[in-house]
Symmetry: C2
Subunit: 366 residues, 2 copies
């Protein structure tokens, strides 16, 4: 990492103009809330969305902002865009931001695996963000939560293999899916057949394998994201990881059961100590009271809660653990805002060399 070559921009005297793209979605609203709660230093905030959502009014720092339709005009003059409007929207507008010199911190999967785009969990690989070429990608929710636990542990011993099963809340499918979980639950409680339109099946008192498209190997996209994004963020292309991703009837926090194989035995106490000191992690590992993380513990919370750390009975080099994290917060919006905060703090908003942006960023072509 060579940050010395960056022209440090003194942004404390020149705060950026910020836009949230996809401001009316579940993650978009949380982005706006976090910019307010964390007192993010900005010159002005624009709320952008599709023309369909334009006109929506949202509160910010005691004022009411009106959502505008995203366009070349509304993007002009913006220094930093926090986007959570889906991959196609990010692909559509990234080239415009590129010509404006606007930094895009993108919550979609559009650019995550592009070698020119840093994929960042600030607690794990913030340094890579300094080498951006106009885009920094926010990983998938399940990946972020998993890596907050894996990163401190792999300092104890190299990781060999991870087998993970997820318990993913409705929020990962958006605000409408959260609302549908409530309406279909009401249906079931009133002995009516549940009517689902947003999710492929009713999630009320039910669960199903993540319904993202299947690859030929039988894994769904969500599962392959966990593999590929983890490899990129940990800079460990040989990491072996197999995931089973499941949607469960929980509103906004995810859980994961994680089986980790190291290249040598890792004592449980060492793992516990490493996680207790890890940034972004709350150790909740109370074996005496049989009390471990639940979605209800972490809803609205920043940290990922980790517990039930135990020696894997089935492998001498294995550990088992369980974690929960707020999908909308650390799984999406908070991680993006933390990236933005760090980039402002380090003066990394502008790419290290604009020349690189022009020559090496095929990703900016939609």
């Amino acid at each position: 990492m060579t940050t010395a070559s960056h022209a440090p921009v003194s942004l404390s005297t020149c705060p950026p103009t910020v836009a949230v793209l996809g401001a009316t979605g579940a993650v978009g609203r949380e982005l706006v809330l976090l910019l307010e709660q964390r007192d993010f230093s900005l010159d002005s905030l624009k709320l952008l969305a599709s023309p369909r959502s334009a006109g929506t009014r949202l509160p910010f720092r005691g004022e009411t902002l009106t959502v505008e339709a995203v366009s070349e005009e509304t993007l002009a003059g913006v220094d930093l865009v926090l986007a959570s409007a889906g991959g196609s929207v990010s692909r559509r507008w990234a080239p415009v931001m590129g010509t404006h010199g606007t930094l895009l911190i993108d919550n979609s999967s559009a650019f995550r695996l592009d070698p020119c785009v840093p994929l960042v969990v600030p607690e794990v690989n913030l340094d890579t963000a300094s080498r951006h070429q106009g885009i920094v990608a926010n990983p998938n929710c399940t990946t972020i939560l998993l890596l907050l636990a894996l990163a401190p542990l792999r300092r104890l011993a190299p990781l060999r293999r991870v087998v993970v099963s997820t318990y993913q809340s409705a929020s990962g499918a958006g605000a409408q899916a959260m609302a549908e979980l409530k309406t279909t639950s009401r249906d079931v409680l009133h002995d009516r057949p549940p009517r689902n339109r947003v999710l492929p099946y009713s999630l009320a008192f039910n669960l199903f394998l993540h319904n993202s498209p299947l690859a030929e190997n039988g894994y769904c996209e969500e599962e392959l994201k966990m593999l590929r994004e983890s490899r990129k963020i940990l800079a460990q292309p040989d990491l072996r990881l197999s995931a089973t991703c499941v949607r469960v009837p929980v509103l906004r926090a995810h859980a994961e059961a994680v089986n980790i194989e190291f290249d040598r035995p890792v004592p449980v106490d060492d793992a516990r100590r490493a996680l207790a000191q890890a940034p972004g992690v709350t150790l909740m590992d109370d074996h005496a009271d049989n009390r471990f993380p639940m979605p209800s513990d972490v809803t609205g919370k920043d940290a990922v809660a980790v517990g039930r750390i135990r020696q894997d009975l089935s492998h001498p080099n294995g550990l088992e653990l369980w974690l929960c994290g707020d999908q909308i917060r650390k799984g999406a919006a908070l991680n993006a805002v933390q990236i933005a905060e760090a980039m402002v703090r380090h003066g990394w908003l502008k790419p290290p060399s604009p020349r690189q942006l022009d020559q090496d960023a095929p990703v900016l072509q939609p």
Copy 2:
């Protein structure tokens, strides 16, 4: 297995007197329902429960039966008891049944690991039931569902290691827990704090690690049951298995994400073919339509649904699969009734040698 030594009892002309012990519980009611639905040949049916539940009236074959308090008197003359009233009740009354020569098919965990007690999944190890000494144990729900998938696969190659994460419904904690999941869900939908009394935490739009007592190694009892019972049923004491058991807000069907390591590679197509032909299994593995088992598919159904069978990306000898089964039905009551049916069919109701029962059954001492 030597069934030839049994004196075959022609039970078609002499059907047994049957009692359901714990008849008012979720599993007890299902036992009564299954005896009716499956036209179980019996001389008469007694419904037994704690004195607290005595007097409850339940329908059976067009009549209404009254639940009686379990006692030496009410147990007298019963040939076969199907018990689902908890370990302490089974321990209390098993010696009485022993002196009466009554066969106990026990759904509790009291005798499952006793070397004198067969632990039976009829599709997997029915032959062991012939060697009973008055008690046959029904395995834990999660174990039964898992083994219906593992047993046909291990005919393809020896099993080495299993890593499993469960998604267990409220029914596993009893009828009151199912009712509480509904009342607490109503609380949340009405913005009231959920009030839980049966479960340790509110399960409404929430989930938590199985709250059975923890062993010193950090695993809970439910997880260790899966290990120990699987080893016993498969007669494979070296099987390595690590489980994470999780209670989810689903009413009565469990799901499991299963990672299986064999001692050599097993082609996915071979696994699919073996499971398609396996008794008690429905293959639901529609990759073209991205359609795999859900709890709502199997609620009230006999078979365990298995799907999303895929080569484990993280191990050359690994397969991943997903399964769902009705916890009350195949996970408990149906398995017990299937054991009973087979034992009547084979004339195994009385132990092969009463002498053995007296001398070698310390388990019958409470």
